[in-house]
């Protein structure tokens, strides 16, 4: 969601064990139960665990593009594209969530989704 031009990822929080997940779902894997997860805004910044510049991918993705795993403070790991060349990134970089095009849809339209951009060095 976007609020005051700031982008947030909305995750879920288990009402029983307080575990955070992304995306929100109707089950908690820690409780092994169907739960009514609360919608919560997740932290907008995280730490880059690892990344790669992808050169071979299905045709809807424009190569090369950079992907990575980002760890948020709520102990949620997000897989997302990054708005940088691999050469500009290092493990442990601070990154924040943004919006951008990640691929084309089957009918050629632009698919906009969350991406991450760098805000600080490791």
């Amino acid at each position: 969601v976007e609020e005051n031009q700031k982008v947030f990822l909305v995750g879920g929080r288990c009402p029983l064990c307080r575990k955070h997940v992304f995306p929100r779902r109707a089950w908690c894997d820690r409780c092994s139960a169907a739960v009514d997860m609360e919608s919560v805004k997740l932290s907008t910044t995280g730490v880059l665990y690892s990344f790669s510049e992808v050169h071979v991918a299905p045709p809807m993705f424009a190569t090369p593009y950079v992907v990575g795993y980002i760890d948020l403070p709520e102990d949620v790991r997000i897989f997302a594209q990054l708005e940088h060349a691999a050469a500009d990134l290092a493990l442990g970089d601070r990154v924040e969530v943004a919006l951008g095009m990640i691929r084309r849809s089957n009918d050629g339209g632009r698919v906009i989704s969350y991406k991450f951009r760098k805000t600080g060095n490791a």
Partner: protein
């Protein structure tokens, strides 16, 4: 539980066969395995067929034209572990005494997808964001390099070993030695992984006859005993995960070592799921051939060469034998059996008495891997 033996094995050379049907490849492999066991195909009592992309009723489609119809046929899909998942069911069926002769087939035809990376489940959230298997392993590689000080040069050395071994394997898709320089100079797939650090896609089939100790004696087949037959699946983790260590492989091999009453130092050779060079490096540690972060020294000492202390992938592995997903695990079983029979000409591990096969894979968000299957064979 009864003692279970591998009575016969067979496979076709893996490769790109756009003009051959998947059923035809499967029949070729199964007839070789049955011939190797020295039995009539009609002695098979049940068939277990593993395939990643073979589609509905793949086993029946293979067996039909041979008239091997009417018996129980079980088709299994478990991504890269499909073939050895089928193997495990066959072993269990013989061990529990339900049947005496089971046939295992592993088969896939990836050329039907054209080329490029293997297709993944498009409903997966990470796949929709741009995850492809090489990128997943590339991220493991970058993190591993960061934590344990290996370089692309070490990864290239793993590929060079695979090609050196594969050059002596008549069943390998690629039978050509390469150099570290060629690996590093090949085109980038997902950095830091270059083309020659990734296994190829292709087509193939492999088969095995699983039976009792009494039958192998009666048939005069060399005794290769199944000492461990295991399958585990990945644990779901939504938060931090150490991607430099395969928890799933470590957990599965503990079960296998316990079943066999053996440990990593007893393994004379291992056929390991080296879909990417970094994967093999991580599995040295996952299988207990060295501690976490110690693979660098293992590589530098040449310990995993055919002549080393822990020979890994004497066949050339997925890297050069090829990786038609569902066929791979059964091809590993073929190699293990040939090694234990001293029949692996040009790539034989001297005095091999204990062989381990390890298959794992399947991209699914939040899991290390979908499935892992490890078998141990002794003679």
């Amino acid at each position: 539980m009864r003692e279970v033996h591998v009575g016969g094995v067979g496979m076709i050379r893996f490769g790109r066969y756009p003009d051959r049907s998947i059923e035809d490849m499967g029949r070729d492999a199964l007839l070789q395995a049955v011939k190797d066991a020295g039995i009539d195909p009609r002695q098979v009592q049940e068939t277990f067929c593993g395939s990643g992309y073979g589609g509905a009723l793949i086993g029946q489609r293979i067996l039909r034209d041979l008239g091997m119809t009417g018996m129980p046929v079980t088709n299994l899909e478990n991504a890269c572990s499909s073939g050895t998942t089928a193997m495990r069911e066959a072993v269990a069926a013989v061990a529990m005494g339900r049947i005496d002769v089971a046939l295992v087939i592993g088969v896939d035809k990836l050329t039907r997808f054209g080329g490029g990376t293997v297709p993944l489940e498009t409903t997966d959230i990470e796949v929709g964001q741009g995850l492809v298997m090489p990128a997943l392993y590339a991220m493991r590689a970058r993190r591993y390099m960061h934590e344990f000080g290996i370089t692309p040069h070490h990864l290239a050395m793993v590929s060079v070993k695979a090609h050196k071994n594969g050059a002596s394997n008549p069943y390998a898709q690629y039978q050509k030695a390469i150099t570290v320089e060629e690996v590093l100079a090949s085109r980038m797939i997902a950095d830091p992984l270059t083309l020659y650090m990734c296994c190829p896609t292709g087509d193939g089939a492999a088969a095995a006859v699983i039976t009792t100790a009494e039958n192998t004696r009666r048939w005069g087949a060399p005794a290769v005993r199944v000492a461990a037959s295991t399958l585990q699946s990945g644990l779901f983790k939504t938060g931090h995960r150490d991607m430099t260590f395969s928890e799933l492989t470590g957990r599965t091999v503990r079960v296998a070592y316990e079943q066999a009453g053996l440990g990593p130092n007893d393994i004379d050779l291992a056929e390991v799921h080296d879909a990417f060079a970094i994967a093999e490096v991580m599995y040295y540690e996952g299988l207990g051939f060295c501690g976490q972060g110690e693979a660098k020294a293992l590589i530098e000492r040449g310990d995993t060469e055919i002549t080393g202390r822990f020979p890994v992938n004497p066949s050339g592995g997925l890297k050069t034998r090829g990786h038609p997903v569902g066929a791979t695990g059964v091809a590993q079983v073929c190699e293990a059996v040939w090694q234990l029979r001293d029949h692996a000409n040009g790539r034989q591990v001297a005095g091999a008495k204990v062989a381990l096969t390890h298959c794992t894979g399947g991209g699914i968000a939040g899991l290390d891997h979908g499935a892992c299957s490890i078998h141990i064979f002794t003679k």
